[in-house]
């Protein structure tokens, strides 16, 4: 029963990941694209959390931490670049 819940959770969050990829690929403004990329990594961190709960390994949480760190730096860099790419 509990294993089934976690299995379905992995499936569901994989679908969510696909929806977010479609969101990134969709034609939209630069800020919305940066925001979608940030969401993509957040969903990935959630997937790693579900994996950690399912396998009871804590190594996935290390990966999640590093991924969150890189995503934060990437968001800052992309937003900064977009900010300075137009004369104010």
């Amino acid at each position: 029963m509990h294993g089934l819940v976690l299995d379905l959770a992995v499936l569901w969050i994989a679908g969510l990941l696909g929806a977010t990829v479609a969101l990134v690929a969709r034609r939209s403004s630069p800020a919305e694209r940066i925001l979608s990329l940030d969401t993509l990594v957040l969903v990935l961190v959630g997937l790693l959390g579900v994996f950690a709960a399912e396998t009871r390994e804590t190594y996935y949480l290390d990966t999640a931490l590093v991924l969150g760190l890189v995503a934060f730096a990437a968001t800052l860099a992309a937003a900064r670049y977009y900010d300075e790419s137009h004369p104010s």
């Binding site: 819940v5 403004s29 959630g46 104010s88």
Partner: protein, 112 residues
């Protein structure tokens, strides 16, 4: 060894389900909202809190002392999500992205 016993695993299930629901609502919000500023609401609040629920579930389920590092991830996400949202919103505003809606008022507009 893990904390609790028979009850804990139900709490883990409940946290996973709640986290998934909140995250799904957040992604749906990003699809539905009309402009970048309102999309940031769905992204930085709903999705981040859903991820926090999932990470707490993983923390409760893992081996006890080692799973405390989940707390680190939770704290990191709770700190960085608002900062990232603010930076993106500032870039969008300075980039001149329009606000959707008929009667919106951009109160910061004269300073631009």
């Amino acid at each position: 060894m893990t904390v609790g016993g028979g009850v804990m695993i139900w709490i883990v299930d409940a946290l996973v389900v709640v986290g998934l629901i909140v995250m799904t609502l957040g992604v749906a919000g990003i699809y539905r909202m009309p402009d970048a500023y309102t999309k940031l609401h769905a992204q930085s609040k709903a999705v981040a809190l859903g991820v926090v629920c999932l990470l707490v579930a993983a923390m409760l389920r893992g081996e006890w002392p080692a799973s405390l590092r989940g707390l680190l991830v939770v704290a990191f996400i709770l700190v960085t999500a608002p900062v990232g949202a603010h930076v993106v919103a500032r870039a969008a505003w300075r980039g001149g992205e329009p606000m959707a809606g008929e009667r919106v008022v951009d109160e910061s507009a004269p300073e631009r």
